[in-house]
Symmetry: C2
């Protein structure tokens, strides 16, 4: 398996090209020719970088989620209050969508087309991410910031879902103000639509 930390520059370019094409056309809608075209090489030549089209998808997905999870690991370990950690999580999630060249989007929308074998690593990373998020909410409850009736598992899925939804919008509309979206997501999750009557 490929470790995105050890990518040679050319392999890195190949993963980015594949990510971009998969993000635009979907895994099945994209052809190996499309990826080759994006790299400026011939169709057959991409098999120098990927053992198969399926492996290309696996590499893109792994690249998309890998250091994204380790970033979450750092946030979770840090010594900040709940609100700051939540904000950091959302920020990491949404900025990833813009910066990581659509690989995270590919991970989220196309990874299920991989056979189970090739999803093992991805699944572990995804579970780890969700677990850290759940622990974050449990911390929030323990600290008295989050209502004790909040279901941590539900909350984690919701945050992931909300961030992915905004991530898709961000990828589709390059003019969208990411930091505005981050702040509003943070505010909505913390306070809801009604909000606490803090300012009363």
């Amino acid at each position: 398996m490929l470790d995105s930390k050890n990518l040679k520059p050319k392999q890195h370019r190949a993963v980015l090209a594949a990510a971009s094409v998969f993000a635009e056309k979907g895994y099945h809608g994209a052809s190996t020719r499309d990826i080759a075209d994006r790299m400026g090489i011939q169709q057959g030549s991409i098999y120098y970088y990927f053992k198969s089209k399926e492996d290309a998808l696996a590499d893109v997905c792994l690249f998309g989620i890998e250091d994204y999870v380790s970033h979450m690991e750092t946030t979770a370990m840090s010594d900040q209050p709940f609100e700051s950690k939540l904000l950091a999580t959302i920020t990491s999630h949404l900025t990833s969508y813009r910066e990581r060249n659509e690989a995270l989007k590919v991970h989220n929308s196309e990874r299920l087309y991989l056979p189970k074998k090739k999803r093992t690593r991805l699944k572990a990373l995804g579970s780890r991410y969700r677990q850290l998020l759940e622990e974050l909410f449990e911390q929030g409850i323990a600290d008295g910031v989050v209502r004790p009736t909040v279901d941590a598992h539900f909350a984690a899925q919701s945050v992931i879902g909300l961030c992915n939804a905004w991530g898709d919008l961000i990828v589709r509309d390059p003019g969208l103000d990411v930091f505005d979206a981050i702040q509003k997501c943070h505010d909505l999750l913390l306070n809801g639509l009604r909000g606490r009557p803090d300012t009363d």
Copy 2:
């Protein structure tokens, strides 16, 4: 164009079969043979029901979103407080995912593969839905239930995103308790994680 109100039973079955296959394999990953197999007919015979594979996708998407929007229209016109309307919206959204045989999921994840021409109707319906949702939030603000600082457009996108995320989970896990998810989404959106100190 096809109007889902006027579907003959057999055409209806065809749309459901196509929806199911597209939801499972994606538009490009699914073949006309897959759809035919699901209906128990030969590959070439599906062209009796659809002019082309692309038209099949268009029909599925339209079926998926059509009365779903008109349901929202009814909710919006009704004479209920903001909270009830929000709950009705979420309920309609999430139960659609389970009942409409995955056509709504196909609409959400595959419609962008249609050429612009065939998306005109879908786009109009989607915009209408978002607009009704925005007006709902503006009503909430006017009624003093929703904080005036809430951005109605942002809120609408967020509700749609959150519901779609849970919809995907619902489709993927048939054992999931839909009404539990509905209540928790409603609560999270209204009160956020911190919640109002109602019960203090």
